[in-house]
Every structure is written in C-alpha cells, then in structure tokens.
C-alpha cells in the first residue's frame, strides 16, 4: 500500500477543507477503500478520517414523517433499527443481503452509496480500465463479462454498481445531503451516480471535498411498507454480490395497485429505477400478466455488453418475482433469508 498522510478533523467544515486538496480521500469504515488501497487500485496521498465527526450517526424521524439517516450510521444498526425496518422493510432486507455480518457492523451508510464497482478488470492493475486509468481501454469488453452491465453501458465501460442498499433507496426517492466547499446541497440519489458515457472515471456528481452527511427518505416512502421486498440472485447462497437484484414496493387498495416503485441492481453503473414499468402498474390488478408486462417494459432498452444476454431475461423474472412477493405482503420478520440447500425446512420458508 502506498504511504499516505492521515488526518482526523473534528468538524465537518475542517474535513471538507482537508479533503478538497488533490489526492485526498475520505475514510469512514474503509471496508471498500482499504481493499482498493491494498490492491493499488486507489492510491490516495491523504486520508481524511471522518469517523469522529459529530452528529452524523443518528437516525431521526422528521416532523413531516420522513426519516433522516446520518452518513456514519452503520449498515447493521440501520437494518436492525426496529422503527426503520418496520417502515422501510425492503431497505432493511437489502442491507442485510449485502456483504457479511462483520462488514455490515463496520460499513457506513455514506460509504455504501459511494462504493466502487467490483469489475475484476478495475481491480486488476495489469488490465486496461478506462475507469481506473482513463484512455487505456476496457479489457472487460473482450474478457469475462457475464456479470457486467446490460443497461446504460458505453463502449468505454460496462461495469455495474454493486450496492444492494441503493436499489430500494432509489425506488423510494431517497435524497442525499452533501456538505461541500460552497455549503450544503441536496441531490436525489437517482442523480448521484453517473452513467459511464465517455468518462467512466467520473462515477458521481460529487466535487472535490464534497462529503455525504446524510440520507433522507421522504414522508411518502413508508406508505409502501405493507408490500415491499428486495430480491437478490447471487451465485452462492450468502455473502456475494448480486448477479441481478430488484426492489419492488406497492401501494395496494382493494386489490388495485395505486402506486408502484421498482428498481434493479447489478444491471448498470447506477441503481436502475424502472419508471415506465411503475406507470404501467398503476391502476392495475396485482396479476402475473401485469407484472410480466411491467418487467418487459423495464428491460425494453437492455442489451448485452458481452456474454450476458441471460441477465436480461433473469432481470425480467426477478422483477416478476419481486412484484409477486411484494403483492403477497411484507413478511412479519425482516430479514427474510435466502434458503440454503442445507435448510431443514422444506420449501422456501425463508423466502428465496
């Protein structure tokens, strides 16, 4: 690991100043950053440790009924907060499907939003990667790319965003609060991450020094709590990134879908909101035909970036599955677990 300077500012404004310098990076838990630094993928000159900044570790209910989550709240603390899990079950389910218990105990909300792609060519410093070294090319295009993007990719980059947490968040209109050199501003989570285009090295809209200080869910987001699920397909039962995942949240009145929220994970460089599919579902009955139509619409623009045509059909089926489970009702206990082949209970007791 390249050597670096370490500073631990006491206030948010000092942190922003310290991190605005070229070569600086914020350190929270470091569960992704240290991994990248050990591999020489990221080589910061200075780490700005934000773990002691005051006031960023709270979960607050807002007067309008929304919720504000400090950027330093740990993944496991948020997922197991009883009030939070009850109001936003798909978000808790997504959090608990990610990483391992040890990593969830350390990893922060802010860090999760900004985690880097798990593309193997991005991690391998001997490979060409436009994201890691702009202009060098993309070895993933002709490489092992069955897990790469099927939506929103470009010739320059076919990497995906790996977060589970972001998928239901983007479906529920989460907003990110950012402290920067010119003060505080807000960005919809939907607009935080960028698609690669010709500049895959620019993954989000943050400027030097920008610090995510909190995440908000609007008041209306808890209206879906009775019918909200996160479904994740991975290549082993637990502790793996998604091949494809989906968040589905429904507001159902007397058998009719009043409002639907849908998003996909593992398919693009950002969590992928499926607005056209949502609109198709409004006013319809919660039927398999309606779900299949929505899933077709959601993947209408998908195209394989390599050996991953299968992910398009898989994504359609995962959307139908997530909608079907959401329509059936949020289970009493979240997290519902993936059923391993060792499960002694027959059927998918723990969900998938």
């Amino acid at each position: 690991m390249k050597s670096f300077d370490y500073v631990r500012p006491a206030t948010v404004s000092d942190a922003v100043k310290a991190a605005a310098e070229p070569g600086a990076a914020y350190l929270a838990a470091g569960t992704n950053l240290l991994d990248l630094m050990k591999g020489g993928v990221t080589r910061p000159d200075r780490l700005v440790d934000v773990t002691r900044l005051p006031g960023l570790d709270r979960i607050e209910t807002l007067p309008d009924g929304g919720i504000r989550i400090g950027a330093l709240v740990r993944n496991s603390d948020l997922a197991h907060d009883p009030g939070f899990a009850k109001s936003y079950p798909a978000v808790a389910e997504a959090l608990l499907s990610g990483a391992s218990a040890q990593l969830r105990n350390a990893a922060t909300v802010g860090g999760n939003l900004l985690q880097r792609t798990r593309c193997g060519y991005f991690y391998d410093t001997a490979s060409a990667c436009n994201k890691r070294e702009p202009g060098t090319g993309c070895d993933a295009r002709e490489g092992e790319n069955r897990l790469h993007a099927v939506l929103g990719w470009s010739d320059a980059c076919i990497a995906t965003h790996p977060s589970d947490f972001c998928v239901p968040l983007v479906a529920l209109d989460a907003v990110v609060e950012i402290e920067g050199r010119t003060g505080r501003r807000e960005v919809a989570l939907q607009a935080l991450h960028r698609l690669p285009g010709d500049t895959p090295e620019r993954e989000n809209v943050l400027e030097p020094g920008d610090l995510i200080v909190a995440l908000r869910l609007p008041a209306g987001a808890s209206a879906f709590s009775a019918h909200a699920r996160y479904v994740k397909v991975r290549e082993r039962t637990s502790y793996a990134f998604a091949v494809v995942s989906a968040a589905a949240a429904l507001r159902i009145e007397r058998g009719t879908i009043r409002e639907a929220r849908l998003a996909l994970g593992g398919v693009a460089a950002k969590p992928w909101r499926c607005r056209a599919a949502e609109e198709m579902l409004a006013g319809k009955g919660a039927t398999r035909d309606a779900f299949a139509g929505a899933a077709t619409a959601a993947l209408a623009d998908a195209k394989p970036s390599g050996d991953n045509q299968f992910k398009i059909e898989l994504a359609r089926r995962i959307l139908v599955r997530a909608l079907t489970l959401a329509a059936a009702g949020t289970p009493r206990r979240i997290p519902a677990l993936p059923a391993s082949p060792f499960s002694s209970a027959s059927g998918a007791l723990h969900v998938l």
Partner: protein, 165 residues
C-alpha cells in the same frame, strides 16, 4: 509522523506509538502486541479469519486501520477464556468438532460470540448459517460449526436465565 493511540485489548489498556498510519488492527495485534491468535487469511475482508470484537461488535480486523480505532475496546480470542475455563463457544467448538486444521477457528469463535450477542439468529440453524457466512472454512467443517454455535447459543441463553432468575 507518529500517531499515539490507546486501545483496551482483552481488558488491558495499551498505549501504542504507530510510526505509520497504514498499520491495520490485525497487524497491530499480531506483529506488535504478539497476539497471534487472530489469523491473517485473505487480508481483504473476505474470509473472516481476522474477526475480533471492537466495542462489542464483530468486525474484520484486516480492513480496519488501527489509527482510526484510537480508544476502542478490542476483544480477541486470547481474551475470551477465564483462566483455564473455556468460553462456552470454545467448549462447544471442541464438543462438536467445529474445526479440522484450526486456522479459521479463532475467527469462527469470535464471529460466533458476536452473532450470539447480536441476538438475531436464535436457535434457527438457517439463520446461524447466514449469520456465519462471513467466515470461510477451507476444511469444510461447517456442519460442526453450525451445531457448535447452536449449542453455545442455548447454553448461554440458559446461563442468562439462571442469572436473571
């Protein structure tokens, strides 16, 4: 530039002068405090061999910078027994053959102590398997590990009942 930090490790306060901020909590424990029970497997947060409790929570010590954990309370495998009396989780791992080569075992045991403390798995083997998925066992002793965690969970729950009765 040096960094002075203090940690409480297995109940003992340790004042440490770090000459480099790159030192992970794992390397600090093993190389500088001679606590080699905590193992370095992958060193990338994937195998769980380095699991310790920090402020009562299980984490991967390989992915934690020591300097960032100034003031923390750290519990390692060396600190769980009381003299010659094994921790119930240690005893259960022996009783159920929850190991073969033993390299992952300190991490498995610390993770199991963390899991039981978190109170999310109860005595559901499926939830125990899910909660222990961050600890890999190259020998494949998973069946014994699950039984050991179940057994320890039950004996600790009984001990708690007795204490509160």
């Amino acid at each position: 530039m040096n960094f002075a930090i203090s940690l409480t490790v297995n109940g003992v306060r340790r004042d440490i002068e770090l000459d480099d901020p790159r030192v992970t909590l794992l390397d600090l424990l093993r190389e500088r405090l001679d606590l080699t029970g905590t193992k370095k497997g992958c060193d990338r947060g994937q195998c769980g061999a380095c699991t310790v409790l920090v402020d009562g929570r299980r984490i991967n010590s390989c992915m934690a910078l020591a300097v960032s954990h100034d003031g923390a309370d750290v519990l390692t495998i060396e600190g769980v027994a009381r003299g010659d009396q094994l921790h119930p989780v240690q005893a259960a791992f022996i009783a159920h053959d929850g190991m073969q080569c033993g390299f992952c075992t300190p991490g498995q045991i610390m993770s199991a102590i963390g899991l039981i403390h978190e109170g999310q798995a109860g005595d559901d083997p499926e939830r125990i398997r899910e909660g222990m998925s961050g600890n890999l066992c190259r020998c494949g002793a998973y069946a014994g590990i699950t039984e050991a965690v179940l057994d320890a969970q039950q004996s600790l729950a009984k001990a708690n009942e007795r204490r509160s009765a």
